[in-house]
């Protein structure tokens, strides 16, 4: 089937932007650190959509975009690992995972 014919690139980009901003809003609004982390993952996924879509629609003769998306996924996983470790650490120190309570360093 011809994906290009049925779903134009613009849709892909709109999707990606939507996802990106949903992720961003998640990071900005949610108070739970884990949820914020999920927001970050959404943002990364939006990027992945971009890369794959661009690669597929515009530059199909090379595979850079796809590879990039793969690597982003790997790194997102690593990041999540580190993040979880740190969040656990926060929980130990502050007995909470709410980002609002982690504001001792300021001004």
């Amino acid at each position: 089937m011809n994906l290009q014919a049925e779903i134009p690139l613009d849709y892909m980009i709109i999707l990606s932007i939507l996802v990106f901003f949903i992720g961003l809003m998640g990071v900005l609004i949610r108070r739970n650190l884990i949820t914020m982390l999920m927001g970050v993952e959404l943002m990364l996924n939006a990027v992945n959509i971009n890369f794959t879509a661009f690669n597929h629609y515009l530059f199909p003769h090379r595979l850079e975009g796809h590879f990039f998306a793969l690597i982003v996924m790997a790194i997102a996983a690593a990041e999540a690992a580190v993040a979880i470790a740190l969040i656990i650490n926060i929980y130990r120190q502050f007995a909470t995972v709410s980002v609002d309570d982690v504001d001792e360093l300021k001004f």
Binding site: L28, M36, V102, D103, K106, F107
Partner: protein, 636 residues
């Protein structure tokens, strides 16, 4: 004739000053007076010799020639304007040399006695030498800037000497006042020099007064407020002269200057420095007479007013030195009037000759008066005439010499004052009748107040003295006697053959029509004084009561001091200086501090940005990115 040796006249006092000043600690005290006096006698002798050789030379067609005996370049300012230091000998300066050195020598000699035992004896003689040096430098100046240089030096030596008793607040205040008032006048002098030198391209007196020179020959047509630039320049220069010569309204420093030791008053504030203004105008006289007659008119009125004004005040003062000080003002007023009424050349220059003649005689008799007063003060330890009286017995020499001086200043023939004053009156009569009348009246007042002084000191009743007054030592009486003789004979010097406006001799005639009334009014003045003051009486009080308003005003010197005080204290200090200081601290500095403080305030204002909430950080980050992107897309 080579006059290069005249440099010694100039330098010897300087060397004395430096020597005494630097070695003051190491030198035996008594030696200072001897060294100083000896030096002065040497230069007095040299000056007289110079005068003799100069005046006995054959006067050529052009009269006595001006000779530049010595000249070095001191500071080149522009290509044309170069400050030279040199010695200019012409009748005027030679005459001044004689006057200054003679009076100075006498004062030095007198001071040995008068200042004996005072602290700072060496310092005193050092300052006297400095003064003599400066004054000599002033009179022999070859150019107006050299004159200005020494003019300032004279001012500072006067400052130092008035403030000689530096622990006495009144002396300190007086010295400060003298310096600042004359300094203010000097500002006019300086600006005058600037204008004159710019327009003429020279400082040299020879060029400035030359008949073909840039001032007279090529008078500038530029005008400012109706007067030519030259007139302005010369008026400003006269302002300097008026300051030094204590002309109204710059006279206020002179009475206060009497805080200095009496010999100093005799030398500086009677005989020499205060006539510098007269000398200055005389020096530039051709320029005044030929290219700025308006300035001369001003000089005339100022002189006349000052002489009347000061004479009236002198009648009321009780401090004998102040009486003499106001008398000095009055007499200098005479000299100024004479210059003001004079024309240039020959007979027309009678006023010029008379003025300098009066300067010459006045130097002797006024110095004599001051030294006599000093002798009295030395004996009585007071300046107030109310604490004196009946001294003619105990101080015969002083009494006699003082009497001679009083008669001289009153203008009784054949003493010198009579001749010089007579010439002035003649000149005034020919020029302006009103001025003549005023000066004639002043002659009477002069006689009156001088004899008031005389009678109060030497006659009247004898108060209870703490110590019986006795005659002063010989070192003090000898100068008195010398000056008395000089006062008597000075009138016979044929001035019209020597010092004239164009340096050419001319003939003068004696006018009984003028001399008669002037002798008459002098005698009236003397008799009135005798009637009032020769014996203790209530008449003076009665008169002063009946004239209460005028008397009080005159006694308070017509409140000129208060006006000055108001100007300085309330206007300069309170109204300018204080606001300036405030402005500087609060506005200018305040602005700088405000910049600093507002930076700190800005810092405090934005500290909320660093809230500690990571979500807000991300919020800033995200919006920052957006704003930046939009800005760049927009600006691109």
């Amino acid at each position: 004739m080579d006059y290069a040796y005249t440099l010694i006249i100039l330098l010897l006092p300087l060397v004395t000053f430096l020597g005494l000043g630097l070695l003051s600690k190491r030198l035996p005290v008594a030696l200072a007076g001897i060294i100083g006096t000896a030096n002065l006698f040497i230069i007095a002798a040299l000056s007289c010799a110079t005068a003799f050789t100069y005046f006995t030379q054959e006067a050529g067609e052009a009269g006595f020639e001006a000779i530049e005996a010595y000249k070095i370049t001191w500071l080149p300012l522009t290509d044309k304007l170069i400050i030279h230091l040199g010695i200019l000998l012409d009748p005027l300066s030679v005459m001044m040399l004689v006057v200054i050195t003679l009076v100075s020598a006498m004062v030095h000699l007198y001071s040995i006695g008068y200042m004996k035992g005072e602290k700072g004896y060496t310092r005193y003689f050092a300052f006297l030498s400095l003064f003599t040096f400066s004054m000599l430098g002033l009179v022999v100046a070859t150019n107006i800037f050299q004159m200005y240089i020494f003019w300032e030096l004279v001012g500072v030596s006067s400052y130092l000497l008035i403030g000689f008793y530096y622990q006495k607040p009144s002396a300190v205040a007086a010295s400060k006042k003298a310096f600042i008032v004359t300094r203010f006048a000097d500002l006019g002098f300086l600006v005058g020099i600037l204008i004159l030198s710019f327009n003429t391209g020279t400082f040299e007196f020879q060029t400035l007064t030359s008949l073909q020179g840039p001032v007279i020959g090529q008078a500038s047509t530029a005008a400012f407020m109706g007067l030519s630039v030259t007139t302005w320049a010369l008026l400003l220069i006269f302002m300097g002269g008026a300051g030094k010569s204590a002309m109204f309204p710059l006279h206020i420093w002179l009475p206060d200057a009497m805080e200095g030791p009496t010999p100093v008053s005799a030398l500086i504030h009677a005989a020499t420095m205060v006539v510098a203004g007269v000398y200055l105008v005389a020096r530039l006289f051709p320029a005044y007479a030929l290219s700025a007659p308006d300035a001369l008119t001003v000089i005339m009125y100022v002189g006349s007013f000052t002489s009347l004004f000061a004479a009236v005040i002198a009648c009321t003062q009780l401090d004998i030195k102040r009486v003499l000080a106001f008398s000095t003002l009055s007499q200098i007023g005479y000299m100024m009037v004479a210059l003001g009424v004079s024309g240039y050349g020959g007979e027309a220059g009678l006023g010029y000759m008379a003025s300098l003649f009066h300067l010459f005689t006045h130097a002797f008799f006024k110095a004599l008066l001051f030294l006599g007063a000093g002798s009295v003060i030395h004996a009585v330890h007071s300046n107030l005439m109310t604490e004196m009286g009946g001294l003619r017995k105990s101080m015969p020499v002083t009494h006699l010499t003082f009497l001679v001086a009083c008669l001289t200043i009153a203008g009784i023939p054949p003493l010198s004052g009579f001749f010089s004053k007579d010439e002035i009156l003649v000149a005034a009569f020919e020029h302006n009748k009103l001025i003549f009348a005023v000066q004639w009246l002043v002659a009477g007042i002069t006689a009156f107040y001088m004899f008031r002084l005389y009678f109060r000191i030497f006659w009247n009743q004898t108060p209870a003295y703490h110590h019986a007054p006795h005659e002063s030592p010989v070192v003090m009486t000898v100068p008195l006697m010398f000056l008395a003789i000089a006062s008597v004979v000075a009138g016979f010097v044929p001035f019209h053959d020597l010092v004239t406006s164009d340096n050419k001799p001319f003939e003068t005639a004696f006018h009984w029509s003028i001399a008669g009334p002037s002798i008459a009014i002098a005698v009236i003045g003397i008799l009135t004084a005798a009637w009032l003051y020769a014996r203790p009486s209530l008449r003076p009080d009665a008169i002063s009561k009946s004239l209460s308003g005028v008397y009080t005003a005159a006694y308070n010197k017509f409140y000129i001091d208060e006006i000055y005080l108001f100007i300085t204290k309330s206007i300069i200090f309170q109204f300018i200086s204080r606001p300036v200081a405030w402005f500087d601290r609060h506005i200018v500095d305040g602005t700088m501090n405000f910049i600093g403080n507002s930076t700190v305030a800005g810092s405090a204002a934005i500290k909320r940005m660093q809230s500690g909430h990571v979500q807000l950080y991300i919020w800033y980050f995200a919006s920052g990115v957006l704003v930046l992107a939009l800005l760049i897309l927009y600006l691109n």
